[in-house]
């Protein structure tokens, strides 16, 4: 990982309280470099989704600073966001759902069409372009939602427990697909999950969060080389990483009692 490059995400002392007084995040510090794969784990309700929404710019921090800068131009990076639920428009076909971001950005139809086809190809759903969301399985809907996030060719991919609702087999396959795409496209990824194993399998770095108030309590490098495959799952290094993250999480859990 090229950690020397300017960070893509820079969060300084960020806090966020909701209107009802809930302090969801307090003094969060985090910087994520170009092409990193950051796993974000923590107990339910610790503010993972909130942090992701801050990074995406969907909310402003109540204190502190959150900035995202892409390397070349200094502009805000193109963001792809995958929600915890598929979040598809039920009235639109798969093609139109994936087409949506390009349509909103006003891309010419001809170019958009080929990009949508490409994105559908990537997630293996090219044959379902004319289907409605209700005709798809849960995993397929999730893949449509991933295709929609990829179609704008983002430099920053934010994923909120995208595979949480899937069975292990499907999840493992999608994990591998995601890693392959990541290594080809060199995105920066922030990946929220509540599965330690998933985080360690995917990430180059894992940030561990604690709850009430939400904060980052550990920042762990997962230095096993890519490409990773099922062999990695069985390796001693994988087991060791899992143990480290587990104990960090356990400490996070007890520290606020």
């Amino acid at each position: 990982m090229n950690v020397q490059a300017a960070p893509l995400i820079e969060i300084r002392d960020a806090a966020l309280s909701y209107g009802n007084g809930t302090v969801a995040l307090e003094s969060v510090n985090l910087s994520v470099g170009q092409h990193e794969f950051l796993g974000l784990v923590g107990p339910s309700g610790c503010g993972k989704s909130t942090l992701l929404r801050l990074i995406a710019g969907l909310m402003a921090p109540s204190a502190g600073r959150v900035s995202t800068v892409s390397d070349r131009s200094g502009d805000a990076p193109e963001i792809g966001f995958v929600f915890q639920e598929p979040t598809l428009m039920p009235w639109a076909r798969v093609f139109d759902n994936v087409h949506l971001p390009l349509r909103l950005k006003g891309l010419p139809v001809a170019e958009a069409r080929s990009r949508v086809e490409q994105a559908l190809e990537m997630v293996g759903l090219a044959d379902f372009r004319r289907a409605y969301p209700r005709e798809l399985s849960g995993g397929m809907k999730m893949r449509v939602s991933i295709a929609r996030a990829l179609v704008t060719r983002p430099t920053l991919l934010l994923m909120d427990e995208p595979f949480a609702a899937l069975d292990d087999m499907t999840r493992h396959r999608l994990n591998d697909d995601l890693l392959k795409l990541w290594s080809e496209q060199r995105w920066t990824v922030v990946f929220v999950t509540h599965s330690i194993y998933e985080a360690v399998y995917l990430s180059s770095r894992v940030a561990v969060m604690a709850a009430s108030p939400g904060r980052i309590v550990a920042d762990l490098h997962i230095d096993s080389p890519y490409p990773r495959d099922q062999e990695y799952r069985l390796s001693a290094a994988y087991g060791a990483h899992c143990r480290v993250v587990t104990s960090a999480l356990a400490q996070a859990g007890t520290s606020d009692v």
Binding site: A56, G57, L58, F81, E85, T87, R103, L104
Partner: protein, 271 residues
């Protein structure tokens, strides 16, 4: 289950949906006819269905123009409900401030019995037709308005965020997200408004009474009742019912057409 059997099955269901009520209606009409003949009930108390049918034919010359007027008022009121209800709903979603200042008046219009307002409207409206229209509109527009407002508000939050993320314009958000999300709600409101616009038209005609040559079916009923022409009352009533049923069926077909491919309410029970 293959597509073919699915179609056959839904066709069977449709046939059953139609056949059973039809059968019951026929039985009831038959019993009615039988009782009237048996007991020799005079026509000015209870006319037999056959007499009502004959009256429909013989009085067609008076009933048909009256029916046209009622149809016209109903259709225009429904149209105005759609335009007014949806237009106001869009305004309300554009600004909470507009909603706060106007919504109470919509509610006042809705809760005040139209029978009580109608005489006033008759005084101030420039002509009978516009008075009838206004009455029917007041009765019918509220469900469209309130349902559309709810619908426009109920767009998925995450989808809203998605539109924000990709820098959607207001117009794009309205057209691509809010309007489709509101459509099922709007149609549910429309189906209520369809029935109400007919009811509104009839009530308005009753209240307007003799006021003019432009009299609809409701006035024909009143007029026939003064003359104890009960058969004609029933004939006019039949036409009103037919109109109501036609509106109901048409709006259901429209709903099916617009929502059939995606909305839960329109999907078969076993998918």
């Amino acid at each position: 289950m293959s597509d073919a059997t699915a179609t056959t099955r839904s066709r069977h269901r449709l046939a059953a949906d139609l056949a059973v009520p039809l059968l019951i209606a026929l039985l009831a009409l038959g019993a009615w006819e039988a009782i009237v003949r048996w007991r020799d009930v005079p026509a000015y108390i209870l006319p037999a269905p056959s007499l009502i049918a004959r009256t429909l034919v013989t009085d067609w010359g008076t009933l048909w123009p009256a029916w046209l007027i009622t149809l016209k008022v109903t259709a225009l009121a429904l149209l105005a409900s759609i335009v007014g209800g949806v237009g106001l709903a869009f305004l309300f979603t554009l600004s909470r401030w507009i909603e706060r200042s106007l919504f109470p008046f919509a509610i006042i219009l809705q809760v005040t019995p139209i029978i009580a307002i109608a005489p006033l409207i008759l005084i101030y409206a420039p002509n009978t037709l516009s008075a009838l229209l206004l009455c029917a509109w007041i009765v019918a527009f509220f469900p469209v308005l309130s349902n559309t407002v709810t619908g426009l508000r109920s767009a998925d939050r995450n989808l809203q965020d998605l539109f924000t993320l990709y820098g959607a314009t207001r117009w794009q958000r309205l057209r691509l997200l809010l309007a489709p999300s509101a459509l099922p709600y709007f149609l549910a409101g429309l189906r209520i408004a369809g029935g109400l616009s007919l009811i509104g038209a009839v009530i308005a005609e009753f209240t307007a009474g003799t006021a003019g040559q432009e009299s609809g079916l409701a006035w024909r009923i009143l007029e026939a009742s003064f003359r104890l022409n009960v058969a004609r009352m029933f004939a006019a009533l039949t036409l009103i019912s037919v109109t109501g049923i036609a509106i109901f069926v048409a709006l259901n077909i429209l709903t099916r057409k617009l929502l059939g491919h995606w909305h839960e309410s329109q999907l078969p029970e076993h998918r």
